[in-house]
């Protein structure tokens, strides 16, 4: 026993070996740090990406309103026909009353410029709702113009030289006067959620785009889900020759990797130029995206069918079920949760897709809300693309806010898919 206590001079304990071992361990440590930091870098990317969107976009859900005391004087109102009044003048009068110093025409036009064009309609609506107001007056909250909105949200640098600002000192003074009187409020911008596109950032909304995306996805689902499931069932259960399945399978795998813009070219050439379907209509966008989603659905359906133990099929066949009955009574119901999960994920991808939609003309400026799959419409991601191109400062926050709406829908769909998977998946 005492012999063991003596230092042994093995080759593993020479200085050289120790140094080498240290080097090897250092390399190990460095490698691990590098691989962790690669993942960390990815995380930082994600945080910067989402963070910049949220920072830019949260204010897009807010709007600025100004309180005005409007007087429906007989001078501007036709009592017989209240819809026909000069509501612009009514607003101008209200503003002039507040700022009597603005007498020149140019100044008055600038003064009128602090409220949104929507104000004219709001004043008109208020009178139409209550015709007895004619001759009387009313306090109204009216949306402010986008420049004022930007000022209120702090996107205008007040210390910058006047000529570099979108908004001049005089207007800032007016807005400050509103603010001091408590007649300026920052409110939740419902217009943004419910209305269609507009040239004015303060009036633009994602409502039309959301509806457009809804119709597109509806068409996509109705076309691609039955077709995809049918194709997968045929390939898995009924295809007579293995060779045919191989051909279709290679074809589908390649189709799944074709760039989405090529599907757009297909949609343009087939649905618009050959079949003459209407341009900019959700039905065309939906069909194009359906072709794009089809491979995803076929692949997930086949995987789901393959995942069912053969004993179930054998049992059903052995008690006399026909092959069709085996599929419709046993295999499909058992595979349905996984098929639906795959379909929802495919739909989520279709929701985020914009390049093919650009090809089939869904980039139109659409103000009206689409009420069906053949109305001109745009889609949520395309709306993001359109707004991102707009030079106005007001559209930057609208773009980010629209992205947030899009991400909320995507998260909801993926969440639903995860829920379905966990709730209904059967482990054999």
């Amino acid at each position: 026993m005492t012999d063991m206590a003596q230092p042994m001079t093995s080759i593993h304990q020479s200085d050289f070996s120790r140094a080498r071992l240290r080097r090897r361990y250092a390399r190990e440590r460095n490698f691990k740090i590098m691989s962790v930091s690669a993942l960390g870098l990815t995380g930082i990317f994600l945080v910067i990406l989402l963070g910049s969107i949220v920072l830019n976009g949260w204010s897009g859900f807010l709007g600025t309103e100004l309180r005005l005391e409007v007087t429906y004087s007989d001078e501007h109102i036709d009592v017989e026909n209240p819809a026909n009044g000069n509501f612009r003048m009514i607003i101008l009068d209200a503003l002039r009353e507040r700022f009597p110093e603005a007498t020149e025409r140019r100044e008055q036009r600038a003064l009128l410029g602090i409220v949104s064009n929507q104000g004219i309609y709001d004043v008109r609506e208020a009178l139409l709702d209550n015709p007895s107001l004619a001759g009387g007056s009313l306090e109204l909250w009216i949306p402010a113009a986008t420049e004022v909105d930007m000022l209120n949200k702090g996107y205008v640098d007040r210390s910058a030289p006047e000529e570099l600002r979108l908004i001049d000192d005089r207007t800032i003074a007016w807005v400050d006067a509103f603010d001091e009187a408590g007649d300026l409020a920052t409110v939740f911008n419902w217009t943004f959620l419910v209305s269609g596109d507009s040239r004015e950032p303060e009036l633009a909304g994602v409502g039309g785009a959301v509806l457009g995306s809804f119709w597109i996805l509806l068409v996509t689902f109705v076309v691609s889900f039955p077709t995809g499931v049918g194709a997968a069932v045929f390939m898995e259960e009924f295809a007579p020759k293995r060779r045919w399945v191989d051909v279709i399978e290679v074809n589908i795998n390649n189709l799944a990797a074709v760039p989405s813009i090529v599907f757009g070219l297909l949609g343009l050439a087939v649905f618009l130029n050959v079949m003459h379907l209407p341009r900019s209509a959700p039905v065309v966008g939906g069909l194009t995206l359906a072709l794009m989603t089809l491979p995803t659905i076929i692949i997930t359906t086949r995987a789901a069918l393959k995942g069912i133990p053969p004993s179930i099929k054998d049992a059903a066949l052995s008690i006399g079920a026909s092959p069709v009955q085996v599929v419709s009574h046993h295999l499909l119901p058992l595979a349905m949760p996984r098929i639906l999960t795959g379909a929802i994920i495919g739909m989520a991808r279709a929701l985020g897709e914009s390049a093919p939609l650009l090809m089939v003309g869904m980039v139109a400026f659409v103000v009206d809300l689409p009420s069906g799959p053949t109305d001109a419409a745009t889609a949520l991601p395309v709306q993001v693309f359109l707004w991102a191109d707009s030079p106005e400062r007001g559209f930057v926050e609208k773009t980010s806010a629209a992205i947030m709406v899009l991400l909320v829908f995507l998260i909801a769909m993926n969440g639903l898919a995860v829920y379905l998977r966990q709730r209904f998946e059967i482990r054999w």
Partner: protein, 457 residues
């Protein structure tokens, strides 16, 4: 529309009564039936629907032809003698006018008369078709009903129809590929009629925006696609420079080092990154990354274009990280544990095992993943449309603005839509090139993956 609704109602009724009849012929003992009652229901419904729909289409086809004949016959002499395209245009305009639209040719009494008779005749055609379709549907389902019997085999025909429907569904996926190839190829061939294919593939000047004068032959701008190819490759190269190492190393961490707790955080993070729409990345590149790079360039004394290849490439790299990482992760996970254990058992460190055993073993899978990622980057559209430029510079400098194949497809096809100009057709030629290149990359990659999987199975 009304007919569709009526037919659906009729078929539903046929289904219901067929099923009930099948139950009633057995006196409630349905087990005596050869086919289950639901098949009898389907049988009757199909017997109603199939002939009705076929007849409806037949009547529409024949009817439209007859309407055109009748209208032409009623035309005054000089119009009737006109050439076929003129006549066809006249008929189309009559149809437009009848539907309440605005015709493209001058409104003449003849046109109005034609539109009126068109409206009358198509209404007649509609009602005849409606009646005939419903009639034959009723008769056919009536016959099918009478034939319901205990020993009647209705399952086989119903299942045969179903199989045909399923076959058609499977055929659609093949037809899509054929559709892509033919539609894009067809337009591309028309383009190569105008611009020689070699000028397109090897020309170094791209300027399709040159104003085309109608009377000028051959001055159709310059369609040399080399600047686009180099631009695409430059952006792709920058993207892979980011996504390659980062994706590979994250996959190594996930596959070799991470315990389940860390995986549970990292995996969803990558999935979120993968699920973000490309238009969001494009906006991020244009709004945040490009200005930031420009600022950084100014402070370093570099001239960075505001729409640089670098910005687009960096963001595209970010987008592809999850793609590279998950494919590499799969490849690493497929390496048998024996190899890993053997290496560790010999005393190798984890790093040595990974770099000298696991990665070489997984190399075909990793390379295939990289190829798929390259194919993805080449075909990516929105990021480059929003963050790369339109100027077709032939450069390898990532600080300059370049344009790519996908950007040009989008710019050529948004806006004017004459399908005869070389400008719009050029987009299809570019699309064909894009399709070919990505298809080639995919086929090679899938082959490699297959080979590699067989090696360890």
């Amino acid at each position: 529309m009304m007919l569709t609704l009526a037919l659906i109602c009729l078929a539903a009724a046929a289904f219901f009564f067929g099923q009930r009849k099948a139950v009633s012929v057995t006196g409630g003992r349905t087990s005596a039936l050869h086919s289950r009652p639901v098949y009898h229901g389907w049988y009757v419904a199909l017997a109603c629907g199939l002939p009705a729909v076929s007849l409806w289409f037949l009547i529409l086809l024949v009817g439209d032809w007859m309407i055109d004949r009748t209208i032409v016959a009623a035309l005054p002499g000089e119009l009737r003698e006109a050439s076929a395209p003129v006549l066809q245009r006249f008929l189309n305009d009559a149809e437009t006018l009848a539907a309440g639209g605005v015709p493209t040719i001058e409104l003449t009494p003849e046109l109005e008369a034609a539109a009126a008779s068109f409206r009358r005749l198509s209404l007649l055609e509609h009602w005849v078709g409606f009646g005939a379709a419903l009639g034959i549907g009723l008769i056919a389902s009536g016959i099918a009903m009478r034939r319901i019997d205990v020993s009647r085999r209705t399952r086989q025909p119903v299942e045969r129809v179903l199989l045909i429907v399923l076959l058609a569904a499977a055929a659609i996926s093949v037809l899509t590929t054929a559709g892509i190839v033919f539609s894009v190829l067809f337009e591309a061939i028309r383009f190569f009629d105008k611009v020689p294919i070699l000028d397109f593939l090897f020309g170094v000047k791209w300027s399709p925006q040159i104003a085309l004068r109608e009377d000028q032959v051959g001055s159709s701008g310059a369609f040399g696609a080399i600047p686009l190819f180099t631009g695409t490759l430059l952006v792709t190269f920058v993207a892979m420079l980011v996504a390659g190492p980062v994706g590979l190393l994250s996959a190594v961490y996930l596959a070799e080092y991470a315990d389940p707790r860390h995986r549970a955080v990292a995996k969803p993070m990558l999935e979120i990154l993968a699920g973000i729409p490309t238009v969001v990345y494009g906006f991020f590149a244009a709004l945040i990354v490009a200005p930031a790079l420009r600022q950084a360039g100014i402070s370093l004394g570099l001239d960075v274009a505001s729409e640089s290849a670098l910005a687009a490439g960096l963001v595209m790299g970010m987008m592809i990280i999850p793609f590279v990482s998950s494919l590499t992760d799969d490849a690493l996970a497929a390496v048998p544990a024996d190899l890993r254990d053997a290496s560790l058992g010999l005393g190798a460190t984890h790093q040595e095992t990974v770099t000298r055993v696991v990665i070489p073993a997984a190399l075909p899978g990793i390379v295939a993943g990289f190829l798929l990622a390259v194919s993805r980057a080449i075909g990516e559209t929105m990021i480059v449309v929003m963050a790369a430029g339109l100027a077709a510079n032939l450069t390898a400098n990532p600080f300059e603005a370049v344009t790519t194949v996908t950007v040009q497809i989008v710019t050529l096809l948004i806006g004017d839509q004459e399908f005869d100009s070389a400008k719009t057709l050029a987009a299809f030629a570019l699309g064909l090139t894009l399709f070919m290149v990505t298809l080639g990359l995919n086929i090679v990659a899938l082959r490699m993956v297959q080979k590699y999987q067989e090696q360890y199975d």
